[in-house]
Symmetry: C2
């Protein structure tokens, strides 16, 4: 089934202990849509500025991503500047200019309103809500958010949460949103805000999924080198939603499989800066690491 993503398209400047990259393509919707396109057809809803490079558009088009909803507007594309600590689980945002996203209000095309799988990427909750309101009877709605919106748009976010099926956030954000330091209690508390599924991303420690009757834990794929963690969470979300859209049904089993594919794709993304590794990824690469991932967590290992 078709998948729709709303989110940021950005040019990022990134500093890690392994080097730096300037003005590279990024943003939640860029990582998400490229990762998701490995599994299912994707429609992208985002704004870019007059400085958006033709190569960036071409790259997305070559992935088969529907770009009718990629609005080019006067002004500049969103800019993000981040610096990772030596412990790459932490980063500082040194600069964020929303630019064309400040007054962005997208209108979905008739066929996009009928998409079955909707992902509301990390952006202002009222913008997420406006897009959600245009969608007709979706099969699954998932949203991402971050500390900034929890702190500054609490009421809008809580309202949105009552309308989504799946919320994805990291452990710090889950604790902040729930006002609860124990992660299991935080997960259960967020379930009460509306979503049927809460997915807590813990970076190198993997993912916890909470639902009313079960908890699922997936490790992160162990890597010998992490070059740039940017986009790992968004790529996780892209492969997660792509896997669900490809399977076409939402069950405990398909959610678990989707989390495993999300973890696998995220493990590739961090091997290079920006979208570089994601763009060279083949379905064979994914299948091989998926098997390794299952093996990593299996109770009994074949000999």
């Amino acid at each position: 089934m078709n998948l729709l993503v709303l989110g940021a398209i950005a040019y990022d400047s990134i500093e890690t202990v392994n080097g730096r990259a300037s003005d590279v393509l990024g943003g939640s919707a860029a990582y998400f849509s490229v990762a998701a396109s490995l599994f299912a057809p994707v429609s992208l809803i985002a704004a870019v500025g007059s400085d958006f490079r033709i190569e960036s558009r071409q790259m997305l088009a070559e992935r088969g991503i529907d770009l009718r909803g990629l609005e080019q507007q006067p002004g500049r594309t969103l800019r993000w500047h981040g610096r990772y600590h030596a412990d790459m689980n932490h980063r500082d945002t040194l600069g964020l200019q929303l630019n064309v996203f400040e007054n962005y209000s997208p209108q979905l095309l008739p066929d996009q309103r009928r998409c079955g799988y909707i992902f509301l990427g990390n952006i202002a909750p009222d913008l997420q809500a406006r897009v959600l309101s245009q969608v007709r009877k979706p099969k699954l709605v998932a949203a991402d958010t971050m500390a900034y919106w929890i702190e500054n748009s609490g009421p809008e976010l809580r309202k949105l949460l009552s309308r989504v099926d799946v919320i994805l956030l990291n452990d710090e954000e889950a604790r902040m949103l729930a006002g609860e330091s124990n992660l299991v209690k935080a997960g259960r508390s967020i379930l009460k805000m509306g979503p049927e599924t809460v997915i807590v991303k813990r970076g190198e420690y993997g993912v916890l999924k909470f639902s009313r009757d079960a908890i699922f834990a997936a490790p992160a794929y162990p890597l010998e080198e992490v070059i740039d963690p940017t986009g790992a969470g968004d790529s996780f979300a892209g492969a997660f939603m792509g896997s669900l859209a490809r399977e076409g049904r939402v069950t405990e089993a398909s959610l678990r499989t989707a989390i495993q594919y999300g973890s696998v794709v995220a493990s590739f993304v961090v091997e290079k800066f920006s979208l570089e590794r994601l763009l060279s990824l083949t379905s064979k690469d994914i299948a091989a690491r998926y098997l390794a991932f299952i093996e990593l967590t299996g109770s009994r290992r074949r000999r």
Copy 2:
């Protein structure tokens, strides 16, 4: 098969955000032997002082633990005083008095020298080595260590590592021992020091097992409340070794099962102060949570 453990028996004073406990029975060998006794017969090798309480000895005896190697000496039992941070993954040692352990040099009995499974608990590497030298053709030798010995007894520890099959340590200690911040590289580097299996304990993030040809990741059982993390690692080790001794063979599969039992038993221990929860634990409790643990990580869930 029989299991032998060398390690500390202590009276602990513990402070956590949930309360405090003074002069309660603790020490790596106390947690280890009680946890292991749920799976297999255990011989305990340790020293205690003249202040060692008769109830403490009785409790261990009631678990069927062989106490012929529990030497009561003039002087005081080891004392440890620790305080946990609000984030219970971290703690400070406020006081440590080795007392009777300062000049302890145990002699194993003939039948103890023939034990198949040996656990060298966290204590001075030269003491671990002296006990290991008395053992004849063990099936499996595992050792634990900590930052203090890595910093202060590096050469002795490296020598010991070349003689053990399994080393257990936490993530910080693994990084310190390998001099390598990436945990996967650290694990591989420690494998080169001798052990066939490196088990890295990551507290609430679970366990990573490294061997030459495979990595295994197990999550921690998600808990809504942690009252006192003391002894979690030692109880993990106890159930891990107990499970292996019970199964009687060391394979990739039996190691994975042992890690799962270790995680399950450790998840009970932290529910109360000191050994309290461990002492009320039944094999039915363990079986139920073991199933829940498998379910927690299973790829496909039965409906």
